[in-house]
Symmetry: C2
Subunit: 374 residues, 2 copies
Amino acid sequence: MGYYFDNAATTPLLPEVKQVMHEIIDNSYGNPSSIHRLGREAKTIVERARKTVANTIISSVGEVFFTSGATESNNLILFKAFQSLRVRRIISSPIEHHCVLHSLEELEKLGCEVILLNVDNEGNIDLDQLRDVLSQSAKKTLVSLMHGNNEIGNLIDLTTIGTLCKEFGALFHTDTAQTIGKLPIDVEASSIDFLTGSAHKFHGPKGIGFVYIKGDHKLDPLLIGGSQERNMRSGTENVICIAGMAEALQQSIDNRELWQAHIKNLRKQLKEGLKETIPDIVFNGNQEYYLNHVLSTGFPKSKNSDLMEVNLDMKNIYASAGSACSSGTLKASHVMQAIGADPNRKPVRFSFSAMNTTEEVDSMLSLIGSICHG
Amino acid sequence: MGYYFDNAATTPLLPEVKQVMHEIIDNSYGNPSSIHRLGREAKTIVERARKTVANTIISSVGEVFFTSGATESNNLILFKAFQSLRVRRIISSPIEHHCVLHSLEELEKLGCEVILLNVDNEGNIDLDQLRDVLSQSAKKTLVSLMHGNNEIGNLIDLTTIGTLCKEFGALFHTDTAQTIGKLPIDVEASSIDFLTGSAHKFHGPKGIGFVYIKGDHKLDPLLIGGSQERNMRSGTENVICIAGMAEALQQSIDNRELWQAHIKNLRKQLKEGLKETIPDIVFNGNQEYYLNHVLSTGFPKSKNSDLMEVNLDMKNIYASAGSACSSGTLKASHVMQAIGADPNRKPVRFSFSAMNTTEEVDSMLSLIGSICHG
């Protein structure tokens, strides 16, 4: 089958998730908006899933809304914070996902001030600058920072940022696509106003996600229609994928410590093995405080490194040359540029899940050795 | 199990669709944006599905984009026609779906002129008025009319409207949620600029749909991010549901004549049976030119008619009291109001699929008799 180390791009479905989805595919088809029994049964599936998400982030169920994924969720928060809450300044960073950065470009055209904080060459956000900037303006402000970076694995401390935002009366939005289910999150304790997530990053299906909107905030919906999701997100609910997402999240929570320990070990094993095999390799991002499942590497120039993605692919190693979230393209990553990564090095991101094994890492290491020294 | 006659609200998955979805759930998980083999395999599934949709409406594949359903598709067309194409007048009707009507309310606030055409008490749109209105203004105009009405089953002739739009230089958008896969559609022959559809109305999964955008028109996307769908709709593709949708559409096309003949017979059987059982019953909408799968009825007042939805439910008859697309509510339907339906009558919509049988209709008729005469 090969070596799948691209879990920051997307993850395989867990067996339990497959089972839940198979079961709903076979047995349930009501429209959750229908008031008859088949509709109510579908509605129950959706509401049970909502409870799972709410429990995970310690919010109330009324603050969780289902969407088609993190892209929609992030678009919703950014555009509607501007439109409905009259946010006129957004503080973010240059290493956010494109669904945030490109939205900010559009919002800037609409008159919103956008400030991208400095990041150092490890990808750490300048928190002193954040404090300075927060203190400098009376404009209604939203801080939008991803919890864990998909390319280099950097983490922010949600409570530190949330507390700072609260101190200056700014709203706090965090994209947890890479962390939900992997790290404990408490929206109240971390003073989070808006939080987004996507099922396919935690062994759920693609095309489904959620958004947390703190009860105090009344946003207009991004999609208008039949008033589903208490009018926050119209469109018939994707019952199959919502149920799959909830099961994936529950499994991730139930096994979190075990899985994270395993993944942390895999990362260490690969990192040390790579250093041994390719002494000149470098690792991108903060190597002290990071996502366990992401290892971003910079391969030294060699006759095979330019076509590294092809060479890996031929050995059935599935990793990501740069970011894997931009449609099929191999442009220089905006994250690598932002941290000033050496353009002569070939960036390869290996990303792990609990389904990977130490044996896979061993085999992959020897294959990578054969590519680089072959 | 019961009698499912709510197929205009949503449809059961076809066995072939279940099989395709089961298969992808079990065997495919790559991110279509990843450039390695697993990504390319997922991409192939998505592109094959796109071809199926394009073949169905006789468009080129580059004009079809996947979305989370008809609501998103319709929002996209209406808002971006205003924003990107500078449409400043939209002509529509009062019997459109809420995802169109509520979008038009928002667009009116943004300065777009909105004209809702008159409908008669059969729900027929005033085509003379359409011609008049089209001839009266130099504003850039979009005509947005659904192909088949979800509540009363009325149809418009796409080519008549499209030709009229073309004559006056107006753009033509049609929501085919109720007709795609059921009636032949040719976007070129009918001069359609924008067309939307949703899988769960033709035995595909919920939460997936598509939009056709004629190649000439450059719309900005509604969702911004990783540039999927050639930048027209960002967000990781829902591969499982996209494949399910394509299979459902292909099956619908392959069996169209057979299924439509069967459904037409079921409708006739139920209609005649109801007239016999409840001589005072009325039927809403045009009874000459209609969707075969929709029969909208008005039950006379009786001691059991007020709670008709409960009584039907108790007999395991799943039909819709009014529209079933508005989240769990039982408000007086805007469509019934628009056609001036007698508010003293209880509207019940029966809607059919090829999976219904004449035996079911017979049994249901006797159960309805027992409710109304019980």
